[in-house]
Amino acid sequence: MAAPRIAHPGTDDYSMAELMAVEMSRNLAFDNGLTGGVGTSATIPMAAVRLATLTVAPDLTWFCGASAGINPTFSELPLSAHDPTAFVGAEAHVPMMRTVDLGMQGARWGFGFNGGIQVDRFGNCNMIGIGPYDSLRMRGPGTVGVIWAASMCHCYLYFNHHSTRTLVEKVDYISSPGYNYDGSGRWAGLKPTSTGPRLVYTPLCVMDFTEDTCELRLRSVHPGYTVEDVLENSGCSIVVPDEVPTTAPPTQLELMLLRTQIDRTGTLRDFQVTYG
């Protein structure tokens, strides 16, 4: 098994983590007016949501993980939403119980960023482990809040690593539900307001899901990489449209806002995302 390689956008004007944050922020235009949140290992989503509130989604409300701030306005992006400095400049403190309230109510929680140790081509994620349950080859960190994918209106999936082990045909365990393996769409029995994953972000590309069968589909490939790079590093089939655009690089305004208001200490410039 080769060591993971660092994803690089083919230019030093911005890092791949910055590109991912900027691209995530753009797609949050869809969520303007909604309430959302980020959880563990959310360095890039934290920056993305904060950027979106400045650009395309001024009416978006978000809670910043375990630091418990609503709409924080930190200028020094921490690595973790668990870091108390992520609370800086918040409008309110949200007790953990309130997050559970929103999750249980479902419709009040618009979106969240979820990850996992595996994702499959129907958007199901696994945080539990790999292998038979009584003899796991790899024990995952646990289901934590990704369960809310069953309840919130929709979710975004993101991975700091893109590989054949991360993107799989079928996850070993479902911690957060995506779509039914039979191609019929959203799993039955969940809240009707909860429509499943919208987009998947990795260090190589952005994916969405086909309208009919809800299978992974390539949406754009990041600068520096090709459709073949994506397919080669994926362990599942991905629908590839005739035209696959390159993910648009950050505009000057996006980069200016990101670097002067959100991430002055360059956390994302130094943040390594990988593939392979």
């Binding site: 007016g33 309430t35 400045l54 650009t55 395309v56 001024p58 009416d59 409300t61 701030g69 609503i70 709409n71 306005t73 609370f87 400049g89 918040a90 409008e91 309110a92 403190h93 949200v94 119980m97 309130r98 559970v100 309230d101 929103l102 999750g103 249980m104 109510q105 479902g106 009040r108 505009t251 000057q252 305004l253």
Partner: protein
């Protein structure tokens, strides 16, 4: 988004007029109070609210009694309604004794835990070992049922989730996006808001979001729990507004006497329907009395 002008989009204000708020309330029937927001109560009455089911906070006084005096209440969750050492709630007492309102015989559990249960999206809450020997299960059979704990097999009581169509809350300070600070309260507001379809906050003062950010731990209602904000200076008169003004005790005593003497309509005509809006109400009370109430808070 234009790179050249550096103009970022503005966040949408949720501020509406008190009259708009009144109209929104009058369109709904199942009303919860987070505390006792008097300006919204007067606005609702001016807008013709009627046939209401009211879920007050654990203790309520004039906000609920005035709605009853005006004949706007059909059904009421009774936990405590009264004016403590100033006396009983006269309109409530008369309406309940003459059976012109329906009473749900509630208590702190029904209201607080029922609201919490609705706020948390749960269908009901199991409750153990409280109601035996009291008359509440007999008087309140629709709200106290039995359920078996699936883990132990023990039978317990269950209370239902208590949702509302609209929730009204007084805040001392709020920004135009809905972040609100309720001072001098015991935090019933957030659960009441979460358990409601539509939330209106009236605020003594509209403040900047920067000021909200100075004390994020004091934000009682984050903006995402609030649908509309109304600027209502002295909006809780004649009741107390923590750190802002005292209860206007002489005014409240006047209310109590008038209703007891059968002059509720006269009070309503003078203080609710007479003034064309809330500014006229405040003129009626007068600047001298209002500003004097700010002493000693």
């Amino acid at each position: 988004m234009t790179d050249q002008t550096f103009t970022l989009p503005q966040r949408r204000s949720k501020e509406i007029s008190l009259e708009e708020a009144g109209a929104l309330i009058a369109q709904r029937k199942r009303l919860a109070f987070g505390n006792e927001p008097m300006a919204l109560v007067r606005a609702a009455l001016r807008a013709g609210a009627e046939g209401l089911t009211v879920i007050p906070p654990v203790t309520t006084s004039l906000s609920t009694d005035l709605l009853i005096a005006a004949g706007a209440v059909e059904s009421l969750y009774v936990c405590y309604i009264g004016f403590e050492t100033l006396g009983m709630a006269p309109a409530f007492r008369r309406a309940a004794e003459s059976r012109t309102i329906e009473v749900v015989e509630a208590d702190e559990i029904t209201v607080i835990l029922g609201t919490r249960t609705a706020a948390g999206g749960m269908p009901f809450a199991p409750v153990a070992n409280i109601y035996e020997a009291t008359d509440l299960p007999r008087l309140n059979p629709d709200n106290l049922r039995r359920v078996v704990d699936p883990f132990t097999g023990t039978e317990t009581y269950a209370i239902p989730a208590l949702r509302s169509e609209i929730c009204l809350i007084h805040a001392q300070e709020a920004d135009i996006y809905g972040n609100a600070i309720c001072l001098g309260s015991n935090n019933q507001e957030a659960d009441k808001a979460l358990a409601s379809d539509f939330v209106i906050v009236q605020a003594d003062r509209i403040v900047s979001t920067d000021r909200i950010r100075e004390q994020p731990y004091r934000t009682s209602l984050p903006s995402n729990l609030v649908d509309a904000v109304v600027h209502a200076p002295f909006g809780n008169h004649p009741l107390v507004s923590g750190r802002h003004y005292q209860m206007d005790v002489p005014h409240v005593r006047t209310y109590l006497s008038m209703v007891k003497e059968g002059r509720a309509q006269e009070y309503l005509d003078t203080y609710v329907y007479g003034p064309k809006d809330e500014w006229a109400y405040l003129e009626l009370i007068g600047m001298h009395d209002l500003l004097t109430l700010q002493r000693g808070v």
